[in-house]
């Protein structure tokens, strides 16, 4: 049994090494700078510039986090500090349900609801009012793009941030709240100045875990983001995140030289980033939630 546990512990580095070994050919063939910064993606010609995909991932993830974090934290605070016990008992399992919905189902929902919403409602309104800022301009006639991806991902990320943040806020000792209330502070003043302040590292860890999930999500985002190889300049532009790239092209992977190495290199980059985020968050949370 000890050996099995050891094996499980080593699994993460093993996966990383396995990916690295298969990705080595491309790392040898193309200088790292070009791999990461070039926008030329022509596998048939042997050109593998990951830049558009890295940017695609960053844009969609950023959109998701901006949309997800405020409502998630507010909901977590509400559940931990204000909600009556009955509401909490019902709401928490329902929010967990959100976490269990498969990503393809999110994708279907995104295609049926979010994409038309962006196309017919959000884009025209924002384009007219704020189109002056490149960020909100659109030449994209469809709703498929960064914003749609961000909206769908935001909903996927809600349950993670809410669950962890709520737990961390609950863990703040009651005596601390009472100390603030006894001075005549309102509940909200207490939450803002004392509770959240004390729980801040844990709250940040919750957000980073959500970020990590958004980063690694494949199917849902793939179905709504447009999958056009370009660097996005507006939230309505189509994008092509790294995960979607790998998923869409695994079929041709083995038939074009270096393509498999390139895609697995993409997977490696993904793994390393997610690893960094998750390890940091988990370490913070372990310290934070330790009793006493």
């Amino acid at each position: 049994m000890a050996l099995l546990t050891l094996a499980a512990t080593l699994l993460v580095p093993v996966i990383a090494v396995a990916l690295f070994l298969r990705a080595r050919p491309i790392l040898a063939a193309v200088p790292l700078k070009d791999l990461l910064l070039s926008t030329a993606w022509h596998p048939l010609k042997g050109e593998f510039g990951f830049y558009p995909f890295i940017m695609g991932t960053l844009w969609v993830t950023a959109a998701a986090m901006i949309l997800a974090v405020p409502p998630s934290l507010l909901t977590a605070i509400y559940l931990a500090e204000y909600a009556p016990a009955g509401f909490r008992a019902v709401a928490k399992p329902l929010i967990d349900l959100l976490a269990g919905i498969p990503s393809v189902v999110y994708g279907v929902w995104g295609m049926l609801t979010i994409v038309p919403f962006v196309e017919k409602t959000v884009a025209p309104v924002l384009n007219r009012s704020l189109g002056v800022l490149g960020l909100f301009r659109t030449d994209n006639p469809t709703g498929y793009g960064v914003l749609a991806g961000g909206l769908v991902l935001a909903v996927m990320v809600f349950p993670i941030i809410i669950a962890v943040a709520e737990e961390v806020i609950q863990a703040v000792p009651q005596g601390l709240r009472e100390a603030s209330l006894a001075l005549g502070a309102t509940r909200w003043q207490t939450i803002r100045n004392v509770v959240v302040r004390r729980a801040w590292p844990g709250v940040m860890a919750a957000v980073v875990l959500g970020l990590s999930r958004a980063f690694g999500e494949t199917m849902a985002v793939l179905m709504v983001v447009g999958n056009v190889v370009q660097v996005p300049h507006s939230i309505f532009d189509a994008a092509y995140p790294l995960t979607a790239l790998i998923a869409n092209n695994y079929g041709e992977m083995m038939s074009i030289p270096l393509y498999d190495a390139a895609l697995l290199c993409g997977a490696l980059i993904l793994l390393l980033i997610v690893l960094a985020f998750n390890t940091a968050s988990r370490l913070v949370l372990v310290r934070f939630l330790r009793p006493g």
Binding site: P173, G175, L176, E178, A182, L183, G184, N193
Partner: protein, 258 residues
């Protein structure tokens, strides 16, 4: 005798279905130290916490009755609970310094109420002076004056409790409630807190809950003895300790029960 600071009228409290306070009627005299004592579970802390309405912050608690503070029933309709708590301050058994610097801890009360308004009794905008004043009143100034902006968590337990005292004083309450204020402290720190409380009674009314009879004898001008949620006896400390009128009080003081 002058008007009592607090008049408690038929106060009842429940934790769910447990009847914790049964029809308490009592008076807390102004500018004296009143000690509430009695065996474990008799309702001392419950009674104390109903005086600044902190009791209702716990789910499932229920309070009926009246508590008159200077002519206003704090449980009356339309009374702002945060205002009650600025007039009736509290010191908890275990010090909970806020997650900020020593300076910010003391200034916290003022800051959340804004520096202007009825609390600003001529001290003007000078928060520094105010912080110093209350740290002195709590007997902590000398030890922290050169590290006011260090985190409060770095202080020893005794120092933290004095910080909590300074913090409570900084909102200038009329009444200070102390819930077993020295139970977590070493004897030297405990002594310092007791000394500060005695000095403070010149300016405010103090109510102390204690499980130590010796502490009650040392500090109290007036005492209230509770037994299983009922008020058994109340009166000047000397009289009650020397000549208790109720059998239960006599038994508890003699150590026969408790």
């Amino acid at each position: 005798m002058t008007e009592p600071q607090i008049r408690i009228q038929d106060l009842n409290a429940w934790y769910g279905s447990a009847h914790a306070l049964k029809g308490i009627t009592a008076e807390i005299p102004a500018r004296q130290i009143t000690a509430i004592f009695g065996p474990s579970g008799c309702g001392k802390t419950t009674l104390l916490r109903s005086l600044n309405r902190l009791l209702e912050e716990v789910d499932g608690t229920w309070v009926t009755g009246e508590v008159w503070l200077d002519g206003i029933d704090i449980y009356g309709r339309g009374v702002d609970v945060t205002e009650v708590r600025t007039r009736v301050g509290m010191l908890a058994p275990k010090p909970f310094p806020l997650p900020m610097s020593i300076y910010d801890n003391v200034a916290y009360g003022r800051r959340i109420h804004g520096m202007h308004g009825r609390l600003d009794k001529g001290n003007g905008r000078n928060l520094d002076k105010m912080v110093e004043r209350y740290l002195r009143a709590a007997g902590l100034w000398d030890e922290v004056q050169d590290r006011l902006h260090a985190p409060a968590s770095g202080l020893s337990t005794g120092q933290q409790q004095r910080l909590c005292l300074a913090r409570a004083l900084a909102v200038e309450p009329e009444v200070l409630l102390c819930d077993e204020p020295t139970s977590a402290l070493d004897p030297i720190s405990a002594q310092r807190i007791e000394d500060q409380l005695v000095a403070l009674k010149e300016e405010m009314t103090i109510v102390v809950v204690t499980h130590s009879l010796q502490q009650a004898r040392r500090l109290a001008d007036h005492v209230i003895f509770l037994w299983l949620g009922e008020l058994v006896e109340a009166g000047p400390g000397d009289r009650v300790f020397q000549a208790p009128s109720d059998e239960r009080t006599r038994a508890y003081l003699a150590g026969d029960v408790g």
